[in-house]
């Protein structure tokens, strides 16, 4: 019924009769007051309406204005806006002066655009200019450091990958906290790396409810609106962009000890183990470890004896016999030298290359009086610094719009692209095929290739090629690598022999029809369809690793189809000092995900990893998942005297994720704006612009990973051999409904002293009815159930200030910086005050943040015996593990260590600083990003400090380990028997997460006009750009921004990319 009423309402609106409109045409030229050049792309609007156009390449415009119109507004990014009274003229030529304040820019908002000085919501935007100057393949990377209120992860070094983004804190605990991407007015659920950054006109980040509420159902975590380029009428342009570059690893490796030091540390560890854990006298232990004890017998030394007879470390990397290798003090015989060259042992280098980056784009655009077009073709080919990783994208876009009749406008925006990528296997942090895990953790005496002991000669195959030493080549007379050095695995060989790549074909289309009628009404129908066909192939070779000996291959094929329709009715009108805009809309969204997976083993012939080339099926499945939602919405904007603005919106949304009775949620917002600078009392020259904004509103979140969370289900695919079978998977959740996000925002936009501009914001964002994945007793047989239970808030300040340090001199320098703080607190847990959920290193509890560490409390190292001490949980002094130091009751047992909160991963401050310095035809842009405070739990460092299995790599800090009674150090005794207790997960591994990152540097040379004219080109620009030049932090190698949770893992480290490029337009 609701729908029918709405329909009737639409029709009644349309049928209101109205006076016939009369209009008048105004033309003119806009030029720059500085150099007299014409200004293309200047927007020309009738004040208080959405009627407007843009100037062509010669700065000309032509606009039909209603007779009631009195004033035209000319605005252009970087120029001072001008309002000109029409006074009956049909030709209006004006000059625009540059305006550093540039506050009157137009920003893209939900279902429309707005001028910044009249808009009540919190928005940050990133312009095409800023995207163009970066060598990024994924536009998600354009946002870091550019917008206040935004926090990002470092992202992977995998070519084509993006960065995770959080806007104003962490919106949900179990549902999604990621923002919504909207591309050309439609929610975009495909991979954002499909978009060619060269096609992007602007990116707007919508942060508060006033800005996002109209996207009600999906906007709980903010919205990133991406708008692609359009042609300009009467201004045709042809552009060629070429860039070439290379990439290297963007973060150094952790400090790890080299071969001889490593052997000595192993010796120390083994001596400690025998002496302290097995009670062998120290002097004997030293001789045993060296393999030279008179009663050695079959007892293992480092290089002799043991189960295999070759000692604990198995490989002898030196050119002397095993028995003569070690002296009684653990040092290596002075006559011994390494048989391996540094390259033989450098596993990381063996997998690295100098990556490359080539990008070519052709863009052309233009238009006639009635139509405009934009077309682009792009090709990007990026090779990562890790071998067999790349990303190749071919993309095309066509955007054509036409004013079909005086009242009907329509257009299509179609893009298609093909992406192909070979990907690194870094998904699991401790998998043997993960290049970063394996190369980081293998001990520094194990060679990549098979080499004869003592002589070090390469062992060659029949063709004279080197052979990979798989660490289990008994048949070549080589030992097994010990378990800490992953015998039988070989990440270099596996990376070379395995295959893993995907191809994605994407077609994305948008179309609209817009009818203007009765002067003030616009009715728009938007339709879109995004289709993505993704196919991932993977091959595990038959020689070494998980696929051996048969060889196996898999194919994952998915198709994503999303169809969106919306209908918008706009009404905009100004009466004297009143301006009024109303929007009514309906939207429906249909998302389909088709999944197919097949895996086979038993490779038939080498070099073909299509499934047809394998003998036996391991797995074969497919399914389809669907999601739909539907919404009705309205927005009313009212402005008075260009001083006071009110904006309200309401949206009713239904989601297929919830049960019939619970699926509709209503969301709303209210925003207020006040242009203080237009008040008479603020008419002072120091204040160029000042606007106060406040908003409050509510948006929803249904972003659960499950598509059917309300339903009680038995899952298929549980057959017993050939007998059909299924089993219980989820419980019913009929009362499950929307998580709500209620946010309050106050903001101040300012421009002062002709030099500073920016804004200040304070936000308080409450997530209520959290979609909580409530853990159930394991004994219930179901691990968890989704419930709307719990609440949390995010609160913080944001500030952006841009200053023109020098603007009237030959050297111009602008600094644009932003700062954000976020405080996150859980205010309600599912089962009340005492309820807590421990997940990894964190504990969720009322009064705590989602990223507060909950860890064993490490005290230090006992100088007496070098054991790690923890604050004790059970402080009964009669216990054997209890030690008293000063007033502290301590334990060396992990099991009795006390847990406590230990700070948070959430930083105190994050932000970015952009410096733009220009001199004559040169312009230098430097982007720094930073974080202050927040702790990192460095699990990678722990794994390098935790020597448990013989053969694994060690961090250089282990040389500071406790050695003898009385040593004061914070590195416990090196002793594999005690390593579980000594190096338990605890507060010891937390480290300050502050950093400063030189994120991007760009130097551009604008070829002077008179010179470029000689070359017959319009504009030419040469530039050099670098990403991720350096990062300063507390610990070398640590990837601080790896996750919002502050934990580190073995993943593809970000890359450093340096490119040079040329943009020429004709």
């Amino acid at each position: 019924m609701k729908k029918i009423y709405l329909l009737l309402f639409f029709i009644s609106l349309i049928s209101i009769s109205f006076l016939k409109a009369q209009s008048l045409q105004i033309t003119g030229v806009v030029t720059s007051s500085e150099d007299g050049f014409s200004l293309p792309g200047v927007s020309v609007f009738v004040k208080g309406t959405t009627i407007g156009t843009a100037t062509d390449i010669d700065g000309r415009y032509s606009l039909n204005v209603p007779q009631t119109a009195s004033t035209l507004v000319f605005s252009f990014i970087g120029m001072e806006s001008q309002e000109v009274a029409i006074l009956g003229r049909s030709v209006i030529n004006i000059k625009l002066g540059s305006d550093a304040m540039a506050l009157e820019e137009v920003v893209v908002i939900a279902y429309g655009t707005a001028k910044k000085g009249t808009y009540t919501g919190a928005v940050s935007s990133v312009s095409a200019q800023k995207i163009e100057s970066r060598s990024i393949g994924n536009i998600a990377r354009a946002i870091e450091g550019q917008a206040a209120g935004v926090q990002v992860t470092s992202g992977s070094g995998q070519p084509g990958s993006g960065q995770e983004i959080r806007i104003r804190g962490y919106g949900s605990i179990n549902a999604s906290s990621a923002p919504l991407y909207v591309v050309d007015g439609v929610p975009y659920t495909l991979d954002i790396s499909n978009l060619n950054p060269n096609d992007i006109e602007s990116i707007s980040v919508l942060k508060d409810a006033s800005a996002t509420a109209l996207y009600g159902n999906k906007a709980a975590n903010g919205v990133i609106i991406v708008t692609t380029k359009k042609g300009n009428k009467n201004r045709s342009q042809f552009q060629v962009r070429v860039s070439q570059g290379y990439s290297t690893r963007g973060l150094p490796e952790y400090d790890r000890v080299k071969s001889e030091d490593w052997v000595r540390l192993n010796w120390e560890a083994y001596v400690n183990q025998m002496h302290y854990s097995q009670g062998i006298p120290l002097e004997d232990a030293k001789l045993y470890a060296s393999g030279i004890h008179p009663n050695q017998g079959s007892r293992a030394g480092l290089f002799t004896g043991g189960p295999s007879g070759t000692g604990l470390l198995e490989f002898n990397p030196f050119d002397v016999a095993r028995n003569d290798l070690l002296l009684g003090d653990g040092s290596v015989n002075q006559y011994a030298s390494l048989i391996y060259s540094p390259e033989d042992l450098d596993w990381q280098k063996a997998l690295m290359q100098t990556g490359s980056r080539n990008e070519y784009n052709i863009l052309y655009s233009g238009g006639t009086a009635k139509s405009d077009y934009f077309a682009s073709l792009g090709y990007l080919n990026e090779n990562g610094y890790l071998i067999k990783t790349d990303f190749e994208r071919l993309s095309g876009r066509l955007n054509v719009n036409t004013q079909a009749t005086s009242w009907f406008r329509t257009g299509v925006n179609i893009s298609a692209n093909v992406s192909m990528s070979q990907t690194a296997r870094d998904q699991s942090t401790s998998s043997f095929v993960n290049p970063f895990f394996f190369t980081r953790n293998i001990g520094p005496i194990y060679p990549i290739y098979a080499q004869t002991p003592i002589t070090g000669e390469y062992i060659l195959d029949d063709n004279g090629n080197k052979i990979y030493d798989l660490g289990n080549m008994l048949n070549l007379g080589l030992p097994f690598r010990p378990s800490g050095a992953y015998s039988g695995r070989h990440v270099v060989a596996e990376t070379m022999f395995n295959e893993g790549d995907f191809r994605r074909n994407v077609l994305s289309s948008r179309t609209f029809g817009e009818i203007k009628f009765l002067n003030d009404f616009t009715f728009t129908v938007n339709a879109s369809m995004d289709v993505s066909a993704y196919s991932d192939k993977s091959y595990d070779n038959a020689i070494v690793g998980d696929g051996a000996p048969a060889g196996r291959a898999s194919r994952t094929s998915t198709q994503t189809t999303s169809v969106n329709f919306n209908q918008l009715l706009n009404y905009a009108r100004s009466f004297g000092e009143h301006s009024f805009e109303a929007l009514l809309g309906h939207e429906s969204y249909d998302f389909t995900y088709d999944y197919f997976y097949g895996s086979k083993q038993g490779v038939v012939v080498d070099g073909n990893y299509e499934l047809i080339n394998f003998t036996t099926i391991n797995s074969l499945n497919s399914y389809q998942r669907k999601y739909r939602n539907e919404g009705y919405f309205t927005r009313l904007n009212y402005g008075f005297d260009e001083k006071y603005f009110v904006s309200g919106s309401y949206r009713l949304d239904g989601s297929s994720r919830f049960f019939k009775e619970e699926r509709w949620g209503s969301f709303w917002s209210l925003g207020l704006g006040w242009r203080l600078d237009k008040e008479y009392f603020m008419q002072i020259p120091q204040v160029n612009m000042m606007m106060f904004r406040a908003s409050y509103g509510q948006v929803g979140n249904d972003g659960l990973t499950s598509y059917y969370p309300w339903q009680a289900l038995y899952r298929l695919n549980r057959n017993n051999a050939n007998e059909p079978g299924f089993d219980q998977s989820t419980l019913p959740a009929y009362d499950l409904t929307w998580e709500s996000n209620n946010s309050f925002n106050i903001g101040l936009d300012f421009g002062i002293f002709q030099r500073f501009r920016g804004n200040l914001e304070w936000f308080h964002r409450v997530s209520d009815n959290l979609l909580f994945d409530v853990p159930l007793p394991v004994s219930s047989g179901i691990s968890s159930i989704d419930k709307n239970i719990g609440a949390m808030y995010n609160q913080g300040f944001e500030m952006r200030v841009a200053a023109d340090v020098f603007d009237k001199t030959a050297v111009k320098w602008t600094v644009d910086m932003n700062v954000t703080t976020v405080k996150n607190r859980i205010t309600k847990m599912p089962f009340g005050e005492d309820d807590e959920i421990i997940e990894g290193t964190k504990k969720l509890k009322e009064g705590r943040s989602v990223y507060d560490y909950w860890l064993r409390q490490w005290y230090g190292v006992d100088p007496a015996d070098g054991l790690s001490l923890y604050y004790a949980q059970n402080t009964d002094v009669s216990r054997e593990d209890i030690r008293l130091i000063g007033t502290d009751t301590l334990t060396f047992l992990m099991a009795n260590a006390k847990y406590a909160y230990s700070g948070s991963a959430i930083p105190n401050l994050v932000g970015g600083i952009t410096n733009i310095v220009s001199y004559k035809d040169f312009e230098l842009t430097v982007l720094l990003t930073y974080q202050l405070g927040g702790k990192v739990y460095d699990g990678i460092y722990r794994s390098l400090m935790n020597y448990e299995n013989w053969g694994s790599a060690m961090h250089a800090d282990l040389s500071m380990a406790w050695k003898q009674p009385g040593d004061n150090t914070d590195v416990p005794r090196l002793d594999p028997t005690m390593t579980t207790d000594n190096n338990a997960i605890s507060s010891r591994w937390l480290i300050d997460g502050s950093y400063l990152n030189l994120r991007s540097v760009n130097l551009t040379y604008n070829v002077p006009k008179d010179f470029s004219k000689k070359l017959n080109v319009g504009n030419a620009k040469l530039y050099a750009t670098a990403e991720n030049l350096f990062l300063i932090s507390k610990r070398k190698g640590m990837n601080i921004q790896q996750s919002f949770a502050g934990t580190t893992s073995n993943a593809y480290i970000q890359s450093r990319i340096v490119t040079v490029g040329l943009n020429v337009s004709f």
Binding site: N475, A712, S779
Partner: protein, 500 residues
């Protein structure tokens, strides 16, 4: 006017095209990879599928990413790892080494405490659904009884497994056993229940299995050809109940039930003994999962740890050995000795590849039918065990003659030189137990036997390597005989308290 007409026309066109979504059922969607719970117990044929889901549990991974437990096989491996008869040659790639040293089962956050717990309770939850709803399904009564009987047998078995790992042993000299067991969940519920006493749990286990036997009596699976032995028959239920009686020290019932259960069942001949114990067609297998290639789990399966020929890093580097004392106490004429390498020079230890570690005492008992995939049929009960239960229970009652005879029937198929034992009393019991240890080596019994008989762990004077095994003795009173309750249970169910 014409203009307005066309506008209205276009508006309507736009609306009709795009408001199609406004149908009432636009937002009603159903999955394709699952079926609604409401449809599960409508008919017996659907209920059979729910029961097959339980059978599948026995060999499916509970969660991806953990490579030790494919269904019940991980629990079986744990029970041998924690005994003295299985020797790890090397730390290998580390899997199960913490279990071998009895530390993993004492880590309340660890996978080795949570995986068995979750496995059995998920299985119980599925059987509870069947037991609770099956009577309302449409279909022949005999089928309902058959389904329900199997569900009850599974539930009884699962609780028996749980209580043996997570509680103190059943002490038949000290009844009733009031020590805390595990939560006893008998209906579909998500309310956390407290730990029931061990005595109560055994009552319920007995009740479930007794009822199961009566429901399953006379029922036969005839309609499946490939997997009949994955279904629980009355004799398998009796065999399970005989195991229960054995842990309760009820020798009379144990002997009776085991004797009934083995009626008409075959023992392997010498050739079959050496066929790798991985094919469901083995005549001695009574309860076995037939694992198809498509359902095998590469590195988490039993065959990726316990065989000698599966191409897994764990096996290549850490072949599982038998302890020398057990091996050496049997005569050369016993075929079962051929399950293990007599020296590292044996030709077969160099198979299938020379890069596999080859050592004396390494096991050849289990063979992976497919080196490349870890596939293999997994057996949970075979005839020999029933003979051994019967013999042990008879001997412990002092019925030596009958015990000697039952033992002879079994061992003579293994060793042609074997004569009826002339041992009696303690010596006879010891002989039966030694046979049990050899016969069932690697099949998940030893630690449970130590615990039920209140014996300490004693790995001294055997072939355990001190650089791999860090513990050699555990006294009977040690708290490590109980696994820790997983922290996840306690976090979500405050009524459950931890083992000390």
């Amino acid at each position: 006017m014409k203009k307005y007409l066309s506008i209205i026309f276009l508006v309507f066109l736009g609306l009709t095209v795009s408001l199609q979504s406004c149908k009432d059922d636009f937002l009603d969607l159903n999955p394709t990879e699952a079926i609604s719970e409401a449809d599960v117990f409508t008919t017996t044929s659907n209920a059979w599928a729910a029961l097959n889901g339980v059978h599948r549990f026995m060999y499916a991974t509970l969660e991806s990413g953990h490579s030790s437990h494919a269904g019940h096989s991980g629990n079986m491996i744990m029970h041998d790892m924690m005994g003295e008869d299985l020797v790890n040659h090397d730390r290998g790639n580390g899997w199960f080494i913490g279990v071998y040293n009895w530390t993993s089962t004492r880590n309340e956050n660890g996978a080795y405490t949570s995986l068995p717990y979750r496995f059995f309770y998920k299985l119980i939850a599925n059987t509870n659904m069947i037991i609770f709803y099956i009577d309302g399904a449409e279909g022949p009564l005999a089928e309902k009884e058959h389904i329900k009987g199997q569900a009850l047998a599974y539930r009884g078995w699962a609780y028996h497994q749980l209580v043996q790992s997570y509680a103190k042993r059943y002490d038949w000299n000290n009844k009733p056993n009031e020590q805390p067991g595990v939560p006893l969940v008998l209906t579909p519920t998500i309310a956390g229940l407290p730990r029931e006493t061990v005595e109560k749990l055994y009552e319920q286990i007995n009740a479930d299995l007794t009822l199961a036997i009566s429901l399953l009596e006379g029922k036969e699976i005839t309609w499946v050809t490939q997997t009949p032995k994955s279904h629980l028959s009355a004799s398998v239920a009796k065999g399970i109940l005989a195991r229960v009686a054995l842990t309760q020290g009820d020798w009379g019932r144990a002997a009776l039930l085991a004797g009934e259960a083995r009626q008409g069942k075959t023992l392997m001949n010498k050739a079959q003994l050496m066929q790798g114990l991985s094919n469901s067609t083995n005549p001695e297998f009574l309860w076995v999962s037939h694992v198809q290639q498509e359902h095998s789990y590469a590195f988490s399966s039993f065959f990726s740890y316990m065989t000698w020929n599966r191409n897994s890093t764990n096996i290549k580097q850490n072949p599982k050995k038998i302890c020398s004392r057990l091996y050496d106490s049997f005569p050369e004429s016993d075929t079962r000795k051929q399950w293990f390498a007599s020296s590292n020079e044996e030709a077969r230890v160099r198979q299938p590849n020379t890069d596999y570690t080859a050592v004396k005492y390494m096991s050849f008992k289990f063979m992976a039918p497919d080196e490349g995939s870890g596939r293999g049929d997994l057996c949970y009960m075979r005839t020999a065990e029933l003979y051994l239960i019967e013999a042990e229970a008879l001997a412990r009652q002092g019925q030596d003659g009958q015990a000697q005879q039952v033992l002879f029937e079994l061992v003579s198929t293994r060793d042609t030189n074997y004569m009826v034992s002339n041992n009696s009393g303690i010596d006879l019991i010891e002989e039966i137990m030694m046979n049990r240890r050899l016969e069932l080596w690697g099949e998940g019994f030893r630690w449970l036997d130590l615990k039920r008989l209140n014996l300490p762990l004693d790995r001294s004077v055997q072939s355990h390597d001190p650089s791999v095994a860090t513990i050699f003795e555990v006294p009977v009173a040690d708290k490590r005989w109980q696994y820790m309750i997983p922290r996840a249970e306690i976090n979500a169910n405050p009524l459950v308290n931890q083992n000390d």
